[in-house]
Amino acid sequence: MLLRPAYALAALAALSGSARADDPLHTLIDQHVGAAIKSAGVTPAPQADDATLVRRLTLDLVGRIPTTTEVDAYVKSDDANKRATLVDRLIASPGFARHQAAQFEVMLNPDGGGRRGGAALGEYLRGAMTAGKSWDRVYRELMLPDESDATMKGAADFLKARLADPDKLTNDVSVSFFGVNVSCAQCHDHPLVKDWTQDHFYGMKAFLVRTYDAGGMLAERGFGLAKHKANKGPEKVAPMMFLTGTKLDDPTAREMTKEEQKKEKELVEASKKEKKAPPPPAFSARARLVEVSLKDGNADFFARSIVNRMWHRFLGSGFVNPLDQMHSENPPSHPELLAALAKDTAAHGYDLKRLVSGIVMSQTYSRSSHYPTEATPDRRLFAVAALKPFTPLQLSTSLKIAAADPAQFEGKKAAEFEKLVEQMEGGGRGFASLIAQPTDNFQVGVGEALLFSNGDRVTREFLTDGGNTVLGRVKAMTDKKAAVALLVRTAYGRAPTDAESTALVAYVEGRADRPAEAYRQVLWALVTAPEFRFVY
């Protein structure tokens, strides 16, 4: 449902004079979102408690549940600055680079659950996130990769996986970096969205149509044409044109001659033999796209799209939904805020960490997902935190942590701790491949429930009771109440309620002949229950 225009106007009125450009990002966010909530006459959910917040931050930033040590440290701390300290620590940790890279990989290759181009793209993205590269730099490297640089091999996979289909390449570039799906305009001017005409689709294609596969290497011609035929009328040659309508003079728009076709064949043969890409053209249309798309006046698409995507990643839905439908007929829920965040992000060199930190430090982010009355406020107000289903890797890594003896994590130096977590993440990767990647409107299938209920792998990988496992630890405990409390704390990061404690202890006592089995089933019940499956 769209917000009624009145909301937006009222929100604007409420803001005048209160939000200033030099406010910290999180303040800016809260002022805008708060004003819209207020003018909608809605009571927002209260702030989440500390245990919920540390779980949410850890899952969203580094892709796993927190250990009991991390939860306790956060909950018990009376440092007024503890949230900022936690956010800084998580953002600086290697887990942040891995988790955000995994999210970007899915964003860039949604069809393959993130794996279409092979593992190399993921490796590149992890490197880029570890090095703290800005988003415009990642964009440049993906669009203009230098394959002779071994560290850039993976970056080239984004384009290389799409070379067989220039129409798909055109659309995927527009979707990934500009939040614009122009595929509807491929066959006709968009029937509903006046922003997108065939000229836009083919204008974008003109930048990319010269890129080709030279025997497994990425190459580009110094000339080429994107042609299109409207439903009626003659065939037209499309000039290079960015989504804003900015056209480029293009002296090189022409067909290939027979001679050039022959020459290209030889070039392809040569690059196959030497495993080296043909030399780049003097005039690179693709480089012009990157240049023109980041220019003042055009860069709005790029900036707004990354802001919208990061907001979606942390808040569960975007200012604009779906993420690839950013156009005038689909206005954002908070136009002013989106504009302000886009402006700030561009002004700070597309620094992702600044944007992420701004979002997760806001009170908007840290609201409770619990809203006790019947009528939940419109999702687009962000008055209640959304539930976010785990990604496959969030689920498998979190299962590993819930299954581990929490004593393993205690007293470890930061580097050792990170190494252990990385090992656990690696160990869960195979299992993660069995889990569906969540999308908007995601629904869990019965296949997952059957896998957890009857899959041997779940038992073998997460429910064993050997050394270093929480089940190994509890089976040696004599106090059943303390044992089930430990299981609840490792899985949920909180103490059991009285009712839970009573029921779980009764379950274990009813199986006095097989306590190890009983605890295994308790852990199974904990990790298959909804409290484990969602970021809440």
Binding site: N181, P322, T439, S453, N454, T459, T497, A529
Partner: protein
């Protein structure tokens, strides 16, 4: 063991359960694991009234229309087999299908398919969906759409089952729920006839398996209060269906059928899987695909078809008879379809190649009109001369014959997505 937190939850589940409430009222345990779904007349009649179901016989690799439903005897392209008269006046089919020749009164035959895609991979995608994927939108296939339209939220049986045991071409045509997502993803059987994860592991007892699920429900009870989300609802629903689906394991077991029935379907894998498909639709599974591979007869087309068509003839005829005898043919549609047909031209290896411009398919049952023939090809079978049908028209017709409006919209975000491409209409003459 008494479990106080469990009290009442079953009653809730039963009251939500629509017709399964009848089973509970009749004194059957609310937990469906042990329930004989087939044996309950109350359930069977409920199913009979409303829900349409589909069995798709997927002729993977592309069967030849000339050696099945559109023979051209005597033409240079006709091949060695004769045509025989059927029970529909004026309609002849290949002599390789004598059993179907006496049952064409029930069959709706389309001979005018021109689907313009002769590639195994993208052709199979097209013919499972009725349309091409967009660059950034993956459409659900026929199975997922039927599962979504005909499946019940709390169904005790799977929604979409697909058998594809041979390896040839399997990766070209996986079942795929596209943007409908994991909720409607198929249960895929490739290595044997029992689904994965449907059976309790030996390492846990029946009681523990059931009671740990109750423990799980108890743990989620507080959490879901005050939280609403479709994903959260689907999670509960998925686990809520586990015990029922485990109970449906027996549906996959042909030994539950009499020897006579099993013999009737024949000893082949295709026959046995068709029998399982019948058991599944009878118990309410909305969509079952049985793939038979590999029809891709680039060489030795006539030997291949001489071997495979009689099997198809037998299995299809048996399935139709069986459904009819069980009074199910008004609700269950049997479809034969492939990614494309085969060239009229015969190549140097006495094979026929990929051909998508004039081929055939059939629909039998539900509201597909029996005895109808749509589309005509020229004397050599090179082109469709009358009543051409593309993939979108075909799917519109299939949906219409199942009582599903082809113009119904699904929503991806706020974007309406009609079930078939805009402008495609069903062929009215083929729908009862």
């Amino acid at each position: 063991m008494p479990s106080p937190f469990f009290c009442g939850s079953d009653a809730h589940r039963v009251s939500r359960r629509g017709f399964f409430g009848a089973a509970a009222a009749a004194g059957v345990a609310a937990d469906m694991t042990g329930l004989n779904v087939l044996g309950s007349p109350a359930l069977a009649s409920e199913l009979r009234r409303g829900q349409k179901r589909v069995i798709l016989l997927w002729l993977a690799g592309g069967s030849s229309q000339l050696e099945t439903f559109d023979p051209k005897p005597g033409a240079p392209t006709g091949g060695p087999f004769r045509a025989i008269q059927t029970d529909v006046p004026g309609l002849q089919i290949s002599e390789l299908m004598p059993k179907m020749a006496t049952r064409m009164k029930d069959v709706c035959l389309i001979r005018g398919l021109n689907t313009r895609n002769g590639d195994h991979g993208s052709g199979a995608k097209l013919m499972m969906r009725g349309r091409r994927d967009e660059p950034s939108l993956r459409y659900p296939d026929l199975g997922a759409v039927v599962a979504r339209e005909m499946g019940r939220a709390d169904s005790q049986v799977p929604d979409y089952v697909t058998f594809y045991t041979q390896t040839e071409g399997r990766s070209f045509a996986p079942g795929d729920s596209g943007f409908l997502g994991a909720r409607y993803a198929p249960m895929e059987l490739t290595t044997n006839n029992t689904p994965e994860f449907i059976r309790r592991l030996d390492s846990i007892t029946e009681t523990d398996h059931r009671e740990r699920a109750e423990l799980r429900n108890m743990l989620g009870r507080d959490f879901v209060r005050g939280r609403t989300s479709d994903a959260l609802g689907s999670h509960a629903e998925a686990y809520g269906r586990v015990r029922g689906i485990m109970g449906s394991e027996r549906l996959f077991d042909v030994s539950q059928e009499s020897q006579r029935t099993r013999d009737r379907y024949g000893p082949t894998q295709f026959g046995q899987q068709a029998l399982i498909a019948r058991r599944l639709v009878e118990a309410g599974v909305p969509f079952v695909r049985v793939a038979r591979a590999w029809w891709d007869s680039h060489g030795q087309n006539f030997e291949t078809h001489q071997e495979m068509v009689p099997e198809l003839d037998h299995v299809m005829a048996t399935l139709i008879d069986d459904l009819k005898e069980r009074n199910l043919l008004n609700d269950v549609m049997v479809v034969t379809l492939a990614e494309f047909g085969r060239t009229p031209g015969i190549n140097a290896s006495l094979g026929r190649d990929h051909f998508a411009s004039a081929w055939s398919m059939t629909m039998t049952g539900a509201s597909a009109k029996g005895g109808a023939v749509w589309g005509r090809t020229d004397p050599r079978g090179q082109t469709v001369t009358h009543e051409e049908v593309n993939a979108a028209n075909l799917f519109a017709t299939i949906y219409a014959a199942l009582g599903i409006s082809p113009h119904k919209n699904y929503y991806v975000g706020s974007r309406p997505i009609p079930l078939v491409d805009p402008g495609a209409e069903p062929i009215e003459a083929l729908v009862k």
